[in-house]
Symmetry: C2
Subunit: 718 residues, 2 copies
Amino acid sequence: MRINLFLFACLFWFSSVHAQELQSPNGQLKMTFKLADGGIPTYKLDYKNQQVIKSSALGLELKGDNKGKDFANYTANDGASSSSLFDHFTISNTETSTFDETWKPVWGEVNQIRNHYNELAVTLQQEQTNRQLTIRFRLFDDGLGFRYEFPAQRDLAYFVIKEERTQFAMSGDHTAWWIPGDYDTQEYDYTESKLSDIREVMTKAVTANISQKSFSPTAVQTALMMKTDEGLYINLHEAALINYACMHLDLDDKNFVFNSWLTPDAVGDKGHMQSPGKSPWRTIMVSDDAREILASKMTLNLNDPSKIEDTSWIKPTKYVGVWWEMITGKSTWAYTDAVSSVQLGQTDYTKLQPNGKHGANTANVKRYIDFAAKHGFDAVLVEGWNVGWEDWFGNSKDYVFDFVTPYPDFDVKGIQAYAKSKNVKMMMHHETSSSVRNYERHLDTAYRFMKEHGYDAVKSGYVGDILPRGENHYSQWIVNHFQYALEKAAEYKIMLNAHESVRPTGITRTYPNLIGNESARGTEYQAFGGNKPNHVTVLPFTRLVGGPMDYTPGIFEMDVSKINPENTSHVNSTLANQLALYVTMYSPLQMAADLPEHYEKFSDAFQFIKDVAIDWDESHYLEAEPGAYVTVARKAKGKNEWFIGSVAGENGHTSELKLDFLEKGKKYIAKIYADLADAHYKTNPQAYTIKEVEVKLNSKLKLKSAPAGGYAIQIREK
Amino acid sequence: MRINLFLFACLFWFSSVHAQELQSPNGQLKMTFKLADGGIPTYKLDYKNQQVIKSSALGLELKGDNKGKDFANYTANDGASSSSLFDHFTISNTETSTFDETWKPVWGEVNQIRNHYNELAVTLQQEQTNRQLTIRFRLFDDGLGFRYEFPAQRDLAYFVIKEERTQFAMSGDHTAWWIPGDYDTQEYDYTESKLSDIREVMTKAVTANISQKSFSPTAVQTALMMKTDEGLYINLHEAALINYACMHLDLDDKNFVFNSWLTPDAVGDKGHMQSPGKSPWRTIMVSDDAREILASKMTLNLNDPSKIEDTSWIKPTKYVGVWWEMITGKSTWAYTDAVSSVQLGQTDYTKLQPNGKHGANTANVKRYIDFAAKHGFDAVLVEGWNVGWEDWFGNSKDYVFDFVTPYPDFDVKGIQAYAKSKNVKMMMHHETSSSVRNYERHLDTAYRFMKEHGYDAVKSGYVGDILPRGENHYSQWIVNHFQYALEKAAEYKIMLNAHESVRPTGITRTYPNLIGNESARGTEYQAFGGNKPNHVTVLPFTRLVGGPMDYTPGIFEMDVSKINPENTSHVNSTLANQLALYVTMYSPLQMAADLPEHYEKFSDAFQFIKDVAIDWDESHYLEAEPGAYVTVARKAKGKNEWFIGSVAGENGHTSELKLDFLEKGKKYIAKIYADLADAHYKTNPQAYTIKEVEVKLNSKLKLKSAPAGGYAIQIREK
């Protein structure tokens, strides 16, 4: 007996130093950490006893010739080479804990979020190098997050990452919705394919962009959405990307293993680190129900709580803007065609012939202000208000904008007073042209200018290759810049909407003044040739996992040539689909992007955009399938009012909804904006119908969406 | 007769469109510009009918795959390839002019400077590409300057330089005093050799440095000093290096032709240009008298006049500092040894054990303030006053300093008040650790902090490899930064002394708040193993051509082990030589660099440092030979007082001076500080003598200097 117990204890001890198990609070997810032969840290993940992640290695490869004085030159015997932070480990410590807390976001899809996980922190020791590495796992009901931590230590005070060596071994040849791995852009249509087809499709998937850099025929970006043949939904992303390089996933398509691939800097290094320090969280969401992927708050939960104490100045914003008219080519950002090369501070615009098509002129801006005031919009965005647009594009120009000098026809003070008199805010635009050092040099001055002139939100842009030259949009160096601009904006109480920035990773929890990013293929591409018709049925599963998107929907005129005869692009969406986007594409920042005259032409449909809320108490994902359809119901914050939006892909969709979220005993009017039966995104996009029906708790609605169609519903108490 | 005249006219016309001649005002220098076969622009230079520069090509090679939208894709037929801005030219215009003006510098070797030259501007047209290039030549009595200008033009609005193609064809195998071409440091001893020996000696010449990048076995930096076998002195440098990459000279040692070699950026490009635009001036000083090279004001004259209107805040400064004690290793910049890795804003220094050797502590600083006040010094520099020095070096650290947070033992306000009460200024120190973006992020805050605490001058440093990583100290990108910091300092009325910066090129005329640079091997290296004994007889011919150097002389104790037993370095200079440096190494900023106790020990010699002026009405170079000796007499500004300094090389020197600059009819006392007969920099450096003699106009003095010795003389009215 005693001997058996002893053996049992040994076995238990033996396994316990080699395998560590972690379960989610509801027990459905199980993560196992283990040191494989050679002291390689590995993990695997099961969901309801199905394999999600097969045994996968963890760790980092360091740059061997690091000149840092604490990076000793170890000879590679049997022991770890100086470049290894991925093998020859032993476990020196493990700690488990549980966390369960509810917190309130400043704005969001819901007004409170539960953060509930079981945690395992494994500290590894590399004997030959005297290095320590901690891997912290947090297992939620909706998925796993883990990150690397580098405790303060003399033998790893400063180090350079050559590559992170995190693996995600897939259990099979899943279907994936992906965009090509790229160091500089995410503005690709999504491709739906088997993992095994990525290599073949890649060339076609890499469409042209002003700034792009492919690096592997099988690399994809995150968030990556997948579905197994067994119907399991898996999503890979990262959370809290701060002071680290953005992670891509490079597929080993023989074994269906994703290997982390970080974005390099100008010399090819993947990260400069200091201990104590940490990596971002690598996240794996799992469910057999696609709706749970959309509803997951894991990315936010893995970020630090808000660092902003007084958040009263952070306000969800519905806006219009002098923008679509330039995107379509009807008007221009530039003021003149009379100069090919601008020198800020020297070029005298008052002496140059205006081109007569400058969109950001005072009269036009006032027209938008009037429109915003009339229809209850919070703000007006104006692009092209400031000097420098004549040569901003494609010239790798250093001192390209100063962010404070208006064109002769843009009356800063006059517009400020006019907007104020109409109770409309002006929204600033900072196109940086990716001249990042120039932007940082002007940032304080630019932010101060905003405050002095009544602008409290800014849309920033990073179009074109990055300066300093050689850097990439998503390298650690430039990720650091995006964070710098965000934190400085918070100091100035400025809300930020950063376009062409790194895709978000939940940092909006810590800095809720980050009210939006683009960082994906947005509505503008509908005027650049069109997006795939099912694009908006994919984005919630990919781009929106990390944070809201300034998708700028609300296009009513799908035939762009009606705006600009030289632009034959077509918006691949029905009008009803455009209305639904205000609900399906969650964002605290929502634009009615079309020209005022198009809204006036369809004022009944426009009413939905005016009525729709942009901040929510609750959100219920009613049905969802990546690439096919997304239907969500949301309760407006502080009101007993609900909105439902549904978008469909190429094949359209029929919904059978049960309104099981309404309040018992109350009567409601549901105002339904839907495709007509013969609507089609290509041939008949503006065929919509509006009808009202009375509904109550558990009422059923059957609604049909056209190809790239949808519907939008407002439900008010009767 | 008529036919002959006609032929004559044709010949005249023919030669006049192919060869353009320019003469210096005194006619001794002659420059000829010519288009060689293939439309290649060339120039040559003669001095007193001797060849200085043989026929040499001009132009630039552009990057062919420039993505700029104005860089059209020209097919290379017979015509110019798209990369050529160096051939297939015709002359479309020439303009000649003369300029003669006298201007007053804010501070200098002299109180007024004559700017007198003949100018030729040749405009070239490249037919196939429709490009224009102007080459402007200015011929002074002391040399030639020329630069490229890119007139505003649509077909060359934005372009990228692949390499500048300026040649300087030498007439023979001259002797040169040179340092290796390097993208990141100038801190090399000078080598004296024939041009033909450069290749062989190069490896030995490239001594170790924390940040260095060689690129060619025959490249050297400018200013380059040469002497022909015929006794002609030639100096090559550049003037007005603004928004362009620093130029090195790569020697074709078969033909003795120097080819310009610009410093690349992180991706290997050599310059991003916009038209209208211009290159710096390439300068060629010539004389058969070495003293005229030293006296030349051509570099300043080629720069724009001062952009600073009110210069009352710009003051020549004599200072001491908490510095040499750290350089020698007696004390430390760092406060503690208890932490290997600092995180600014998180590391709590009040909880860390001080190392007891921190130089910048309040008591020690006050000691220096007392010393400065007692001996009439204007300012005290303090290095190591601010947090972050524990891990600043060799870690490629981004957020390395914040420039405003003092160590616990440095009382900012207390020291400010104490210095003020003693009528002594505090001098700021900004070591950037080459983390340039970090410095720029903090620059306004750092400059404001200075003004708030009574600091109006700052010594900045750029030790280590540049961040952003991949950039070089002397690339266009970082040259732009040095200019940015200088111009912003001027806005704050701050004087700047930039170490490890690009070597100066006369910009002090335009921004006279640039009161110094190091940008060469300075006195600190005497504590890092020693400088060559004749180092200071070379520097005036090389480093000082572009501007003053903060050489920080005045070391009295040559045996460094007396300060720090672990440092066996020896200062390769006699004490008298150290005194002479205050006169021979012209600088408006002069440090008495040694420890106060050493000055107290030799207070009679120290008297010279206290008495020497640092701003001048006149300067007369009495005798000079590069590498051997330099003797100069200067008249103190606004006084009838003169100072003479002389420094000698390895072989010592005997001077026979005639004081032909004194005022007629006046009697003077000359106080002479000189080497004793048995003095020697190595074995007997502190053997000096002080004596007074009466002198007057044309008095003769015979003085002997020891090896690496010298003498210093103060001449006051009797």
